[in-house]
Subunit: 444 residues, 2 copies
């Protein structure tokens, strides 16, 4: 069984109930969305069996989710550091985690992460397949890839990025790009295809992958190998040609009752983001869109958690279901623990701001409650509702160690204090006779 | 003479020429915009006389500008620190600076800042007026305020925030707000009005202020005393009632040939930002809109440089002319030097991303050039084009001290290396017969 097969049979699973409660929606609403493919609950039956698993729904109709990538690389790998990254990502409420390890004992690292990760875990199996062929992309075979996929499915991985959408036919569309291919997995698959002059073997083995996924209820994260790696390449023919294939693969997976989300860009100018979200919705029949940022400028390496939070907000406000975080380390090196924290916070801001823009019921309540405490100078309650209370206290204590009522910004000029004193005078004001200066935007 | 009076006479000033060159527009275009009031060049004749002044244009039709607020508070004031803040703000290309000092020797601090600030300097004169009455808002008089304004104009201040738009009639509109008034100057003016039961004295003295501004070519930054201080208060009747008054004051200033920009919010949900920009454009006849963020969520104190960069991008993409930075210290305390740096960079990202969205001619060239170097692994040229080259080098060197070609993120999995190897294979590919997977968004 998969969540999708159950939903289509009209059954509400334990996972659907939990998701419904968190989202403040009816279980029946969640079930319908899953049956239609517009919402997924990545929940490998073996991950659930590990105990302590807390399911997450990913779909356009519910709150926007955030993913944090962790994982080793060849020269920078230590299990302990990865577990620290996992811990801090979960602490700041990353909704899913991807283990993108490419160095060290991949199976062992994954097992340890799975044990501690109570949220859905995703992987990119082609990385482990590369390990099995000594990092030579030309030596990859269908058998090796299917073996790795099955091994990871058995282990309990909840969703996997499968680079099945890039086809041989797309090659010529890439020749004029500035950034070529920036997906690691995609570039490996592409190298194999162009050298062997054969079609993408993941595309050709797609039904077999679906059967494995169905057996463990692994969800697809359909990889966008041709996502733009710079603004100039955004929204080009290559990107959309692959997206069209991803739409076909989405429907193919659904025929197996396998859940699907679709991966998206990348680097996209701010004014093109909405169109990108709408196009995916159209070509992939509403399958959840899981985007990487997008980054809205290329000139800010070191600050790409910010450039991606900007694009991520617009994406969330335009229909994206999950935002992959981007850390300040992007383009510079492998993220470390503090980078993970900064990346998660920036993207959680984006997801939340997008949900507010979409006017999801109740989603602004926490903002309003925090603001009430902010404006009565109740620092403790104000900070308790903030995304990072410890940081707020540390920053404030640095300048105002005695926790006095006012802050070092305004002091005697505190607008709250002035306004409070004015309020009683307003209350006794005569009725307003001249309201010539009043206007609401409803009049426009 | 003012830039506006000259523009209206058909004269092109030295400052207009410099702005035209930086913006890549004709001097005549700049002159026309100034004559119409849709672009300003804040350039006090006495600041120009100090030498080394580099004029900046602020308007919807040209690149989005960024302002950095610096300045002391009562308990946290040192001239040296303020000059460091000024230096770092200018280093990271803040287009204007505001000195918001409320503590220490205000005249002396301002003189030192003016001497080193080669960009337009703005102030909020009501702060100095408060000093002259021992911080008692009830003791303010028209004479004191006009004296301060004239003193600062003589000193060379290029633009001043004048809180003339909040009226007695607006009082009752504020009673149900969560945040009340969050403008320091606005709350002082409001306290005076409600206590004395008199109309806003800056509103009543507006023609006299215009005459002073005209004599030195000081530009108005019409203060938005009633800007929302939290999402719940955004786009309410109070905010728009004041904005309507600011539109009237804009036209009143223009009759004196005095340049005007209008200040705007604040805290605004992402989906309301565009409407806010359009409303200002309509009510204020296209006068440049200078917004504070806006912040798109209230729950991220400590990270409000990010929440405001998100809103700032949407604002810039929807017509805002200048974005006031917000530092990570917002809501917690007075910004220090590192906060100033982080704030400027975040908002410069927003301004640039907005300009790209608006497809200003040539504005993406730097992104494209950087991306070319990024994708050929030319780290030095890549970083030289970044907003913060030193930071990029430091981050990279921390993990890859020997400056090898690859980065610790991908190493053997480098997509660039794989794609380069594939390219020659694509070039020799047979003609594509099946293009059933090709699609462009033009078809939609």
């Amino acid at each position: 069984m998969t969540q999708m097969s159950e939903a289509r049979k009209g059954n509400i699973t334990k996972e659907m109930l939990e998701v419904a409660e968190f989202e403040g929606r009816t279980p029946e609403f969640i079930r319908e969305e899953i049956a239609r493919g517009t919402l997924i609950i990545p929940a490998n039956i073996h991950h659930i069996e590990l105990g302590n698993f807390r399911p997450v729904g990913i779909g356009k109709a519910i709150k926007t989710k955030v993913n944090a990538n962790i994982g080793t690389s060849t020269s920078w790998s230590g299990l302990e550091e990865e577990l620290e990254k996992l811990e801090i990502a979960l602490k700041f409420k990353s909704d899913t985690i991807m283990d993108l390890s490419t160095g060290g004992d991949l199976m062992g690292i994954r097992a340890a992460i799975l044990k501690h990760c109570y949220r859905p875990l995703g992987t990119v199996p082609i990385y482990e397949a590369m390990h099995r062929v000594n990092n030579d992309p030309l030596a990859l075979t269908k058998e090796i890839l299917l073996d790795v996929i099955e091994d990871q499915a058995k282990q309990g991985v909840d969703y996997m990025t499968i680079h099945a959408g890039v086809l041989r036919e797309h090659g010529p569309l890439l020749m004029d790009r500035i950034g070529g291919i920036v997906s690691r997995g995609g570039s490996i698959m592409f190298r194999w295809m162009t050298y062997h002059k054969k079609q993408n073997l993941l595309f050709e083995a797609f039904d077999e992958i679906c059967e494995i996924f169905k057996a463990y209820d692994v969800s697809f994260s359909l990889g966008d190998s041709l996502r733009p790696g710079c603004l100039a390449d955004a929204s080009d023919e290559a990107q959309f040609a692959e997206l069209k294939v991803l739409g076909d693969l989405t429907r193919q997976a659904w025929r197996h009752d396998v859940q699907v989300m679709v991966e998206g860009p990348g680097h996209v100018p701010f004014d093109q983001i909405k169109m990108n979200m709408e196009l995916e919705d159209q070509l992939c029949d509403g399958a959840p869109f899981y985007v990487l940022g997008p980054l809205v400028t290329d000139i800010a390496p070191g600050y790409d958690h910010i450039t991606s939070a900007i694009g991520g907000t617009m994406a969330a406000a335009s229909g994206a279901a999950m935002l992959c975080y981007v850390t300040p380390k992007e383009h510079l090196g492998l993220p470390e623990v503090e980078d993970v924290k900064q990346g998660v916070i920036a993207m959680k801001i984006a997801a939340h701001a997008g949900d507010i823009a979409n006017q999801l019921p109740g989603v602004r309540d926490r903002d309003d409650e925090l603001s009430r405490h902010r404006h009565t100078l109740n620092w403790d309650k104000h900070f308790a509702l903030a995304m990072d209370p410890e940081h707020c206290h540390a920053v404030r204590d640095h300048q105002s160690p005695d926790a006095e009522a006012l802050c070092t910004m305004c002091e005697d000029f505190c607008s709250y204090m002035n306004f409070q004193k004015s309020k009683k005078d307003i209350e006794s004001m005569e009725a307003i006779e001249n309201d010539g200066h009043r206007i609401t935007h409803k009049e426009l």
